[in-house]
């Protein structure tokens, strides 16, 4: 996972609610078997409109509406945003799976109250650069919540498969020995 500490940048404003992952990365690009190279297809259909927000603004921070990344579980959406150059997203709420996917790859999803996001959108539109600081847990000067464990994983860029195998291997083996799964046949 990519470590995240802080980013200071212009922000791109995408003030629409319920932006689904089908828009972020349409299905025809999900046939690729790599993790990289999705950035050029980010918002593929919407970018055909010359006045689409991403065609008019640049930045490493995306300011988005409520329920950003709802719908399909495709991690390709988070990959595409990161590959395009975004390092953090700031929104009032997220689709649960997108939120989780973003944390897993080090694309920081910051949650702030809707009125604070609107204020940041205004400041961004006025040309202000914003800072998202994970250590301080602040975005554009507003404090945001993120638990210590998740923050530390992001700051260090920890691979959580390695973490689980290192710390919990014994607990998993113990659990398994007392937890038979009654599936009759899974072979062939």
């Amino acid at each position: 996972m990519k470590a995240f500490r802080t980013v200071t940048s212009r922000a791109v404003v995408l003030d629409r609610p319920d932006v689904d992952t089908d828009q972020i990365i349409p299905k025809q690009f999900l046939r690729r078997i790599e993790r990289t190279g999705f950035g050029e297809y980010l918002f593929f259909d919407w970018r055909k409109a010359p006045d689409f927000e991403l065609n008019r603004q640049e930045g490493k921070i995306l300011l988005a509406g409520r329920n950003f990344g709802c719908g399909s579980s495709r991690e390709h959406a988070a990959w595409a945003l990161q590959d395009y150059g975004f390092e953090a997203v700031v929104a009032p709420s997220y689709g649960d799976i997108f939120h989780q996917n973003s944390l897993k790859i080090g694309l920081l999803p910051v949650t702030l109250p809707a009125e604070q996001v609107k204020e940041l959108m205004q400041r961004a539109a006025d040309g202000e650069e914003l800072t998202v600081d994970l250590e301080e847990r602040s975005a554009g000067g507003f404090p945001f919540e993120l638990d210590d464990f998740t923050r530390d994983c992001l700051l260090e860029g920890l691979d959580d498969v390695a973490l689980t195998l290192r710390d919990d291997e014994q607990a998993i083996a113990t659990f398994e020995s007392a937890h038979p799964v009654p599936i009759s046949t899974l072979a062939g």
Partner: protein, 459 residues
């Protein structure tokens, strides 16, 4: 104070709990498909890690596969399918491949083969994994990084979501389907109303549903923002499961029944939120916009964006109507369609096909409509053919196709052309979901069938 069904399944799967960390949850069943797994297998390979429990992992091919008899697979899809095949071979994961006779949509075959069982934790790199909650399992979609974590460890670190109970009360009028229940619930809840929650569906109207109906409801839980939906298992559940290939047999079956009987929310258990929906005056539901919460009864009309209080909702409605090429005030029944799609992990099971066939029997698809039926799995297709449903559809002018995700998401040759309008039994009416520029209206199988005949929305 007792616990909820969700609490019970969660607690039974906590491998490790530590202050400040997410619980580490054990995964009983991990379903895999071609689209969201290649990068996860590749990471395992690079790290030299095996799949911990290939015996609790099952793969199928569904998203990419063409459903026409002679339709070739495009090269990128072919590569992705071949990658799944070689990954399953290399890591020892069972694969129900195309042509095996057991293939189908991942959320159809898990229950159909008896893999999905009450009290299980089920995950898959697919948001509609919520479907399996119909059996009293805790089932939710995950991303590819989490797929990798489950392959390597058979566990997932998770923070426990909040709980929401949706109780359906009243007796539904004739012709109302599970699809109408869940669309109405999403309409009430909003597409983000369930974010951060696990939903339990309860009430006599739920208990009266078949497993197929319950799966339809749990399937669309994610469309209301909640990652998982659950229904307490009962006699209907047990009758469905008994004798299925992967279900417990003999003494193990008896022991399973004893355990499963305890999987219900205790009296007095407290949910973080409750919602009640009266189905006694429910009408068939039709979506008008570009998310599943934009829904009205079939006797209703396309709403005026100005009627929404929230400015974000107004803007979203305006954008949706522009995309859908609909004017406010248009009666839903006056909207004409070009295509009808009966299929998807929401509505492609045998009961769905029977309901649609009963409507089309002896009639013919409207001359300006192209209609297709795509069974959810190879066994569903065989069963439907044994019952003569394929003849009913073919005689009526429907296409009868092979199993797959098909036009639900258009990752395969089944797509809408730009501007085409479709009555679809699938789960998402997002912009371009069924093909760039395509316009999707979500409906139940019976409404889809009747609409194919009439050429416009009807019952």
């Amino acid at each position: 104070m007792g616990g909820t069904l969700f609490d019970k399944v969660w607690e039974a799967h906590v491998v490790r709990r530590a202050e400040g960390k997410p619980d580490l949850l054990y995964v009983d069943l991990h379903l895999v498909h071609e689209v969201t797994s290649p990068q996860a297998f590749e990471s395992l390979r690079l790290a030299g890690r095996p799949v911990r429990r290939p015996d609790l992992t099952l793969a199928t091919m569904d998203h990419n596969v063409p459903t026409g008899d002679d339709t070739p697979v495009d090269p990128l899809s072919e590569q992705q399918l071949a990658t799944l095949r070689s990954n399953c071979e290399a890591f020892g994961v069972p694969l129900y491949a195309t042509g095996s006779g057991r293939e189908g949509i991942v959320h159809v075959i898990g229950p159909e083969q008896g893999f999905t069982q009450p009290g299980f934790t089920v995950v898959c790199g697919d948001s509609h994994t919520s479907t399996h909650g119909a059996f009293g399992a805790l089932a939710f979609g995950i991303g590819t990084s989490e797929v990798e974590h489950v392959l390597a460890t058979q566990t997932l670190p998770q923070r426990k979501p909040r709980s929401l109970r949706i109780t359906f009360v009243g007796e539904p009028p004739a012709g109302i389907a599970a699809k109408d229940y869940v669309l109405a619930a999403i309409g009430r809840l909003g597409v983000d109303g369930g974010v951060g929650h696990v939903v339990e569906y309860a009430g006599l109207a739920i208990e009266a549903l078949s497993m197929e109906g319950r799966m339809t409801i749990c399937n669309m839980t994610i469309e209301g923002g909640a990652r998982a939906g659950m229904i307490a298992p009962d006699e209907t559940t047990f009758a469905y499961l008994e004798g299925r290939p992967a279900a417990p047999k003999g003494a193990a079956w008896e022991r399973a029944l004893d355990r499963w009987g305890a999987l219900r929310t205790d009296d007095g258990a407290v949910f973080d939120r409750e919602l009640e929906i009266d189905v006694s005056e429910l009408l068939p539901q039709v979506t008008w916009g570009t998310n599943p919460g934009m829904v009205v009864p079939i006797d209703g009309e396309v709403p005026d964006p100005g009627s929404f209080d929230d400015p974000d909702d107004r803007v979203a409605a305006e954008r949706a109507l522009a995309y859908m090429a609909l004017a406010p005030g248009t009666p839903i029944r006056d909207i004409r369609v070009d295509r009808v799609f009966i299929g998807s992990c929401t509505n492609s099971r045998i009961e769905d096909l029977r309901a649609a066939a009963a409507v089309v029997r002896g009639q013919h698809v409207h001359p300006s409509v192209r209609a297709m039926v795509v069974p959810g799995s190879a066994p569903v297709k065989l069963q439907a053919e044994a019952e003569g449903l394929d003849r009913i559809f073919l005689d009526a002018g429907f296409e009868w196709r092979r199993a797959g995700c098909s036009m639900c998401l258009g990752m395969n040759p089944d797509i809408l052309a730009p501007g085409e309008r479709c009555a679809s039994t699938s789960n998402r009416n997002f912009e371009g979901r069924q093909g760039a520029g395509g316009r999707t209206h979500l409906v139940s199988p019976t409404v889809a069938a009747a609409t194919a005949i009439a050429g416009h929305f009807t019952t």
